[in-house]
């Protein structure tokens, strides 16, 4: 087993809801090696998104340790967590979460404002990230002028822009049709394989999870099992791409229809 890039030790995250304590994560232990692509699966309320939020420093554990690349996130203050996110994490959300008032280029440049770069350098990095996701011809379009697939690719470009070690994707294909979802997954696989990004992706879609090297199954806040889909390393995206799937930036807001493991909704 390679050295763990991410390590969760006895991690508990609980909420008080209507006077009751709900354990979103209950003493979970998990290790994720560097430069791997891991899918988190489980029914609603299983703790997938909670785990992703803890890894991204968006939320804090009540107990246990969340270690990412040697940083114990539970010891970091708010400002340090913000810095951690800026330096180490790229987020890809189900609803894309692009800022509607900014163009694609400006959205991608946004996280670069926190890096010690000149305006020209920021522009260069952002354009490169957009080129990587195949959107060089849409840089000056606003989110409302893009299709769902294009919006998600802009979001991925934004996640890549600062060259983070870790990319956290929360249902990145949840709002996309099958073909567009496949194109987005191809992109994530490529980022993992070609650029050695450690990717953790929450998904309800078993087909999407298959594109990861392993799938971590959660249920009721506990780690249920870990499935190895394929060994870490280079793998042709074509090999895993479903028959007939091709990139198509089709209509947005059309959720993937296959292999959802539960009734939907977020954790």
């Amino acid at each position: 087993m390679p050295e763990a890039f991410i390590s969760l030790e006895e991690v508990t995250r609980s909420y008080s809801r209507g006077g009751e304590t709900v354990h979103a994560l209950d003493r979970v232990d998990l290790e994720i090696p560097k430069a791997t692509f891991t899918a988190l699966m489980g029914p609603s309320g299983s703790g997938k998104s909670t785990m992703l939020n803890l890894l991204g420093g968006l939320d804090r554990a009540n107990a246990g340790r969340v270690m990412v690349d040697g940083d114990d996130l539970s010891l970091l203050g708010n400002a340090e967590l913000a810095r951690y996110r800026a330096d180490n994490v790229g987020f890809v959300f189900q609803g894309f979460n692009l800022l509607p008032v900014l163009t694609a280029l400006q959205n991608v440049e946004l996280p670069l404002l926190l890096a010690p770069l000149s305006r020209a350098e920021r522009r260069k990095h952002a354009l490169y990230a957009l080129e990587l996701v195949g959107l060089s011809d849409r840089v000056h379009h606003r989110p409302s002028q893009l299709s769902g697939g294009q919006e998600q690719r802009v979001a991925i470009a934004r996640a890549l822009a600062t060259d983070p070690k870790l990319i956290l994707a929360d249902e990145p294909t949840g709002d996309l049709d099958r073909n567009t979802a496949d194109a987005v997954l191809d992109l994530l696989v490529r980022l993992n394989e070609e650029f050695d990004k450690t990717i953790v992706m929450v998904t309800h879609d078993a087909r999407a999870a298959e594109r990861a090297q392993r799938t971590v199954h959660l249920d009721k806040g506990e780690l249920e099992r870990i499935e190895e889909n394929r060994p870490a390393g280079k793998l042709s995206t074509e090999e895993k791409k479903p028959d007939g799937a091709k990139e198509d930036d089709g209509a947005k807001a059309e959720p993937a229809t296959t292999a959802a493991t539960d009734a939907g909704g977020e954790d």
């Binding site: 979460n97 946004l110 996280p111």
Partner: protein, 387 residues
């Protein structure tokens, strides 16, 4: 700091921004107007000369004083000079367009050194019975020049068959102090008195007030007391006050008008504060998810706070600047239209700073609540927001 978001967010809802800025413009304009009105009402009080006393009837300002009092007052220690003042109250073009006073031609200018003749010759005031001198504002408003005649319809002092009084403009003055209104005409009191005496006009003979110019080093309070005591048992008791106190009477005659104006100003201020606060709270709530995204990207709480407070400040700065600009732009027409009520309607730098200060203050206070909320948002909660 994502400065671009500041501008883009404001521009994202142009109609709402336009309405908010528009209401700020109106409010700041109104506040500048009210402030200027209050300053103008107080101008006479604040700029009064300390070396002048006013002697009026102890009964009422509207009761005239006997003519022989002038000589008696001049005999009191500490009095340098005494000048008569008589309110004429005539109409020009059927309206009270400017004030008119009968004065002693040989004493007025020495009693009022702040009055400087800038056109014509002051000596002509003594030389010609029907002479008058007028202020620059009055000259500008009606196009009067030296050599013109001004027909005034008497209301207190009427002429047979309602004929107008005719005065000859011999000089135009400007005043270095707001206590002498430049929208005023001063003419010879003796012309009025002689006309009344000759039966060529009807009206009360007397003097409205006597203005005392104190001798150098004289104690105004002591002189005032002496004057009042001197006439305590005479035909008409008098009340002697400083010029500032005399001016204050006119402000107090307005009753609660200054308080009323201040209350309107306070109401306007509060209403606009609520409007901006509402706009900013809406903006803050609408951007909850965007703020969550910014925080997820690594921007700190301070950035979220700053974005909201600066947005509020930017809106209020634009509204405030345009409001002050509008007040300045309308200064001339409003000053002209209100010259009888507010003789010194000038939007000064103090008022402009006051207007901008209020706008910025509203910006800060109205921006605080949404900015505070933005800073305190947990990224994970903000990202879940439906807004």
């Amino acid at each position: 700091m994502p400065w671009i978001l500041l501008v883009k967010n404001i521009a994202a809802h142009p109609f709402r921004t336009f309405l908010t800025i528009g209401s700020l413009i109106v409010a700041v304009f109104l506040l500048c107007f009210l402030k200027t009105a209050l300053v103008s009402l107080q101008a006479g009080v604040n700029s009064s000369a300390s070396n002048r006393l006013i002697v009026q009837s102890a009964v009422s300002l509207f009761v005239d004083l006997p003519l022989n009092y002038q000589t008696k007052i001049e005999g009191i220690d500490g009095v340098d000079e005494v000048c008569k003042f008589q309110w004429f109250g005539g109409l020009y073009r059927d309206q009270m367009q400017f004030a008119q006073f009968g004065i002693d031609a040989d004493r007025f200018l020495s009693a009022y050194p702040e009055v400087n003749v800038i056109a014509g010759d002051a000596k002509d005031l003594e030389a010609r019975r029907t002479a008058c001198i007028i202020g620059t504002k009055m000259a500008d408003a009606f196009g009067f020049q030296v050599g013109d005649t001004i027909p005034i319809q008497g209301t207190i002092f009427t002429r047979p068959e309602n004929e107008p009084w005719v005065f000859d403009v011999v000089a135009i003055y400007e005043s270095t102090s707001p206590n002498v209104d430049e929208n005023t005409m001063f003419f010879r009191w003796d012309y009025l008195d002689e006309t009344l005496e000759a039966g060529s006009a009807y009206g009360p003979r007397g003097v409205g007030v006597y203005v005392i110019k104190l001798a150098t080093g004289a104690d105004g309070t002591a002189v005032a007391r002496t004057v009042d005591e001197r006439f305590a048992n005479d035909s008409q008791r008098v009340q002697t006050t400083t010029e500032a106190e005399f001016q204050r009477q006119f402000v107090s005659m307005l009753g609660s008008v200054p308080t009323f104006l201040s209350s309107i100003g306070g109401g306007v201020l509060f209403a606009i504060f609520l409007a901006v606060l509402n706009t900013m709270l809406m903006a803050g709530r609408e951007r909850t998810r965007d703020l969550g995204v910014l925080k997820a990207l690594g921007f700190g709480n301070a950035v979220a706070f700053t974005l909201l407070i600066l947005e509020s400040l930017l809106i209020c700065t634009i509204g405030g600047a345009l409001g002050v600009g509008l007040a300045k732009l309308t200064e001339a027409p409003l000053g002209s239209g209100l010259r009888m009520i507010l003789p010194t309607y000038v939007i000064g730098s103090e008022t402009a700073i006051f207007g901008m200060g209020l706008a910025l203050g509203i910006g800060v206070v109205a921006g605080l609540a949404p900015a505070w909320r933005a800073a305190g948002l947990k990224p994970v909660d903000a990202l879940r927001s439906e807004a």
